[in-house]
Symmetry: C2
C-alpha cells in the first residue's frame, strides 16, 4: 500500500501535474490566438508567453521553439482527423466507399476546425501561406496508403503504385481544401463530391455532373 495512486491515466492526480497540464494548455491556447492575430511567421516566443501569466523561461520547459508549438497544434489536429479515419477504415471495404467517406470526413473536418476563423474574418493557419508537413501528418498519409493497399489488394489484380495514388488523393484534398475555405458559404459536401468523383473517374466523373438527384 505504499503506492496508492497507481492510476495510470488519472485525470488530475496531484497539484503539480494539474499545473503542468494547465500551463501547457495555456501556452497552446495563447499560441493559437497569437498565430491567428499576428501571423505565424512574425510571431515570437515572447509574443506567445506574454499572452499567458507565465515567465519567458517557463516556455522552454514545455516547448523548445515556436515551431514545436506549431507542430503540437498541428499534431493534435492530425490526431483528431486520424480518429475519424479509424471509423471509415473499419466500415469501408471497397475503394469507392472509402474514398467518398474519407473526402467527406476531411472536408467536414476542415470546415469545423476553421469554423471560428470563418465566422470572423481571421485568415486561418492553412491560408497563411505556409504548409508544414509534421510527422503526425505524414503518419496519417501512411495510414491512408495502408488502407488503399489493403482495399486495392482485394479489389484488383494489376499492381497499382499506391504511393503515387495516395499522393494524388492527398494532393487533391489539400489543394481543394484551401480553395473551399475561401468560398462563402463553405460547402464541404460539394468539395467532397468533386474530389471523390475526380479520383474515381477523373474528368469524366465530374463532367457529367450527376444527371439525376
Amino acid at each position: 500500500m505504499t503506492e496508492t495512486t497507481t492510476d495510470p491515466a488519472a485525470e488530475t492526480s496531484g497539484k503539480r501535474a494539474r499545473a503542468k497540464a494547465a500551463n501547457r494548455m495555456a501556452i497552446l491556447d495563447a499560441a493559437r490566438h497569437v498565430f491567428a492575430r499576428l501571423g505565424y511567421e512574425v510571431t515570437t516566443v515572447r509574443d506567445i508567453i506574454r499572452e499567458t501569466e507565465l515567465a519567458a523561461g517557463t516556455f522552454y520547459n514545455y516547448f523548445r521553439s515556436k515551431e514545436e508549438v506549431f507542430e503540437a497544434l498541428s499534431g493534435d489536429s492530425a490526431l483528431r482527423f486520424s480518429e475519424r479515419l479509424e471509423d471509415i477504415r473499419s466500415q469501408a471495404t471497397d475503394f469507392e466507399t472509402y474514398i467518398r467517406a474519407a473526402y467527406r470526413a476531411y472536408f467536414n473536418f476542415l470546415a469545423e476546425e476553421n469554423a471560428a476563423s470563418i465566422a470572423d474574418g481571421t485568415p486561418h493557419m492553412a491560408l497563411i501561406g505556409v504548409r508544414v508537413d509534421t510527422p503526425e501528418l505524414k503518419a496519417v498519409f501512411a495510414e491512408i496508403r495502408t488502407d488503399l493497399d489493403r482495399i486495392l489488394g482485394d479489389e484488383t489484380v494489376s499492381s497499382i503504385d499506391t504511393e503515387y495514388l495516395t499522393a494524388a488523393a492527398v494532393g487533391i484534398a489539400r489543394e481543394m481544401g484551401d480553395h473551399m475555405l475561401t468560398r462563402r458559404p463553405v460547402d464541404p459536401h460539394v468539395a467532397a463530391e468533386f474530389a471523390a468523383n475526380t479520383l474515381l473517374s477523373g474528368l469524366g466523373g465530374i463532367a457529367v455532373d450527376k444527371p439525376g438527384e
Copy 2:
C-alpha cells in the same frame, strides 16, 4: 545627340547598373547555396551576406528580408515554368493533350530544377518541409485555370467548376512531385503518366495500366 544611349533594354549600360545586377545575382546565388546547406528556416540574412563580398547593410538595398529572397528565387522558378506552359497552351486544343503535356512539363521541370540536389544528397527546398504560395505561383495557377476554361468551354456543354478542377490538378502535381523527388532514379515520365491518367480517368485510368504500348 544629347541622348546617345537610348537602348531601352541595354544589356550593360553603365558601370552602376552592371554592379547592381551583379550584386543582386550574388545575393541570390549565395541564398540558394545557404538555403541548401543550412536549411531555409535557420538561415539568417547574415549567413547569406557573409557568403558574398558585400556588407550587411547592402542586403537591404536589394531585399527587405530573407523571405523576399526566397520569393524572388521561387518567383523566377515559377516564371521559367510559365514559359514552358506557354508553348503547351498554344499547341494543345483538347483537354487530354493539354493535361498530358502540362504534367510532363511540370515533372520534367521539377527534376531538372533539382538535378543538382539529386546528384549530391542535398535535400532541396521543396522537401525542406515548408511550402510557400508566392504571388508568381498563384499567377501560374490562374493561367492554368484560364487554359482549362477555354479548352473545356469548347469541349463540353455542362458547366464544370474549373476552380476546383485546377486545384485538383495542381494538388496532384505538387504532392506527387514531392514523392517523385524522393525516388531513385527520379522518373518524371512515370509520374506524369500517372498524374495525367488519374486526372483524366481516375482510378480506372491507372488500374488498367496501359495494356498496349
